[in-house]
């Protein structure tokens, strides 16, 4: 028998592989003793939302309410909640639960827990589906709620909860956060632009690597990158060979790794945070002759997500966003599919998502 959930909620859901989103009424559990309930103010649109809405990875369950860059204000806390109070500005990112007992959970990397629960589109511990932040309110276990620093504007802070930690976590884990390093960022989109900002704040020299000249002015003059390389310009690429300590590759489309690996110094680290669906060609010789490595990373643990957002608060880092109303969502998704956004759409949920269309 289906468990009866107590509180009414409403949001935007995709109902089939067309990925078109429309109003959807559902319910959420009552606030448990360790839960935090909050009214959603803003929710960022991550490319993953688009992929899941269209079932590109084959594991979407419909109806799907996306959204895992969620910021809001606490309306209720459970009796055993110690870290948050009503009125606090909080956020929730890519995950809303984990087993809490495996080695990954003990090491603060709940994101790698084999039983990690996605904020959107996964089966929760009570067997209900999780519904994400394209909705009026959320209820989430205290341990998976992030405090947003006072000084950060909430709309610009929302994308940090996924895009921000996705670039911050590997920069830290692979030691690419030391002042004076030279970091390459491949791709200038939602992840890439935040990557540039974080790397600059960490004291690195930053080179953006892109497929076209088009973004040079943006990268250097607005985002503060030190240099810009067009990956199809073999002279530029050759001049930059062997100069970078690390590269954060945010590109999800299939693309060649060989020229990018050539940009790394010996011992350089190449981190994939984009998720191409098809395998890439891996030339082995650069790894062997330069002792270079290729690795990947996915979001971050809760502790480091909090650390990341506090770091962003200290350095006044937010995402560059285009604020949209809820009824613009399908147009936004079409534009996102064409990478036509600088650099994240954020839904003004509180002001524009209505229960009755």
């Amino acid at each position: 028998m289906e468990k009866v959930l107590e509180k009414e909620a409403y949001g935007l859901a995709a109902k089939d592989e067309s990925g078109v989103l429309s109003l959807f009424c559902f319910s959420r559990r009552e606030t448990g003793e360790k839960d935090v309930r909050f009214k959603v103010l803003f929710c960022g649109i991550c490319h993953t939302d688009l992929s899941m809405a269209k079932n590109e990875w084959g594991f979407t369950t419909y109806p799907l309410v996306p959204g895992h860059e969620i910021v809001g204000v606490v309306t209720e806390v459970g009796a055993k909640v110690t870290k948050f109070n009503t009125g606090d500005k909080v956020g929730v990112g890519y995950m809303s639960g984990s087993c809490r007992s495996c080695e990954n959970c003990s090491d603060g990397v709940e994101n790698y827990c084999p039983k990690m629960i996605l904020t959107s589109g996964a089966k929760d511990f009570d067997d209900t589906m999780t519904y994400g932040g394209y909705s009026d309110h959320m209820v989430c276990a205290e341990d998976f709620v992030i405090r947003i620093p006072e000084n950060l504007p909430l709309d610009g802070a929302a994308p940090l909860l996924c895009a921000g930690v996705t670039v911050y976590s590997p920069m830290k884990y692979y030691g690419l956060n030391k002042s004076g390093m030279h970091i390459g960022v491949v791709g200038l989109g939602g992840l890439g632009h935040v990557g540039v900002k974080f790397a600059k704040a960490m004291g690195s020299k930053v080179t953006v690597i892109s497929t076209s000249e088009r973004k040079r002015d943006e990268a250097i003059n607005r985002l503060g990158a030190d240099a810009f390389l067009v990956s199809r310009n073999s002279k530029q690429m050759e001049d930059a060979m062997g100069t970078m300590d690390g590269i954060i590759d945010t590109v999800s489309a299939t693309h060649p790794l060989l020229p990018l690996l050539g940009l790394l110094k010996n011992k350089g680290k190449f981190v994939m945070v984009g998720a191409p669906a098809e395998p890439l060609e891996l030339p082995v010789l650069p790894l062997i002759f330069g002792r270079k490595m290729v690795t990947g990373s996915m979001v971050g643990g809760i502790k480091e997500t909090q650390e990341m957002v506090d770091f962003a608060g200290k350095h006044n880092i937010t995402a560059d966003i285009e604020l949209i109303s809820a009824d613009y969502i399908n147009t936004a998704m079409e534009r996102l599919a064409k990478a036509d956004v600088q650099y994240r759409f954020v839904i003004d949920v509180a002001n524009t998502l209505k229960p009755n269309p």
Binding site: N266, L282, V284, F289, R291, M293, T295, G296
Partner: protein
């Protein structure tokens, strides 16, 4: 007029060389430099046959300069030492490995990582610091700068110790660099050949649990009962591969043919490391999802610096680790190469140079 190999240096030497990409080796007269003040002249006793020798004589990688005298797993006796040589004296048992030159002044060289120096010179098929071609260990002797000569420890046999100079350091260096030395961790060794069998022995000496991963079920008995591996995984057995998912901290991948990384990556735990040492002639397919979802990494490694090669030899001597070899005469080299191409050797051919190399 350009000098011939026989006349470009003052001292005549005899060896065996390949002259074209048929890879056929035959007697070859050439010459070597006088022993300089920093040099050690080594009378060669044994030389291991590395798969790289085969690739080079057949020009598989497209940069062979014929004639090629291969051989970079060399053990012999020092017969002359230059006046600046402090580490060796005449009569010492010494080794020469994959590298015989580097710039000796860059960051890599300063860190004892001559193998990553941009001017690193290979023992053969490369241009030495005097601008002439280097000829390797399938020959009577070799003259080498003392920095690139290794002391062969007491107790390490010359014949079965020779392959350590390439195969040994090739697996030892990444095992140290990527921290695979913590007792109790689980190492997978993919491929059981020259590199793989030494990796099993060194892995066991580090106290690791070792699983051999192979496509040949008939190597199981060898792997477990002779080499001391703890378990054996056949890549073509889906049930066993599935049961082993997420169990390994590291994988040393010695397979040089093009092969699938996806099933190997699945064997790694979260944060697991796959170090690829084989040199396939085409890129491999790298699935990105396992890297992203499990923070796994694929890295490479290229032999080792001189300091760590010496450390590796001393480690192997201490733990009685040698290669499993098949000793051959110089004139058996061509059939050995044919067998090597079919991986028909357990696990390294070693040429008994001193006893079988003589001018016709």
């Amino acid at each position: 007029m350009a000098k011939s190999p026989e006349t470009e240096h003052p001292n005549k030497v005899f060896g065996w060389a390949a002259r074209d990409k048929s890879g056929l080796l035959s007697p070859f007269h050439f010459s070597r430099r006088d022993n300089g003040e920093n040099d050690v002249t080594v009378k060669i006793l044994y030389c291991g046959v590395c798969h790289t020798d085969l690739h080079t004589i057949k020009n598989d990688w497209g940069y062979s300069f014929y004639p090629v005298v291969p051989g970079h797993e060399i053990v012999g006796i020092a017969t002359k030492v230059g006046k600046n040589v402090t580490k060796f004296k005449e009569g010492d048992r010494v080794g020469v490995g994959v590298i015989t030159g580097s710039c000796q002044s860059c960051e890599s060289c300063d860190q004892d990582l001559e193998n990553y120096c941009p001017e690193m010179a290979f023992t053969y098929n490369a241009i030495g610091s005097d601008g002439t071609k280097n000829y390797g260990g399938y020959s009577e002797n070799i003259v080498v700068d003392q920095r690139f000569v290794l002391r062969f420890p007491e107790g390490l046999p010359s014949d079965s110790g020779a392959p350590l100079l390439c195969a040994g350091i090739t697996v030892y260096s990444p095992m140290k660099y990527y921290n695979m030395t913590e007792a109790g961790k689980h190492l997978g060794v993919a491929g059981l050949g020259g590199l793989g069998h030494v990796a099993v022995k060194i892995g066991k000496a580090f106290g690791l649990k070792v699983t051999v991963i192979s496509s040949s079920p008939d190597k199981e008995d060898e792997a477990i009962n002779r080499l001391g591996a703890d378990s054996f995984l056949v890549t073509t057995d889906p049930r066993k591969m599935k049961a082993a998912i997420g169990t390994m901290d590291f994988i040393i991948d010695t397979v040089s043919a093009v092969h699938a990384l996806y099933p190997l990556l699945g064997l790694l735990k979260v944060n697991g490391k796959l170090i690829t040492l084989g040199l396939p002639d085409k890129p491999l397919e790298l699935p990105i999802f396992p890297l992203v979802l499990g923070r796994k990494m694929v890295g490479g490694s290229d032999v080792g610096g001189m300091k760590e090669t010496q450390e590796m030899l001393d480690f192997c001597a201490k733990h009685n680790i040698t290669a499993d070899i098949e000793l051959i005469k110089m004139d058996e080299i061509n059939s050995a190469m044919e067998r090597l191409a079919k991986s028909d050797v357990r696990y390294r051919f070693v040429i008994d140079v001193a006893n079988s190399l003589s001018p016709p």
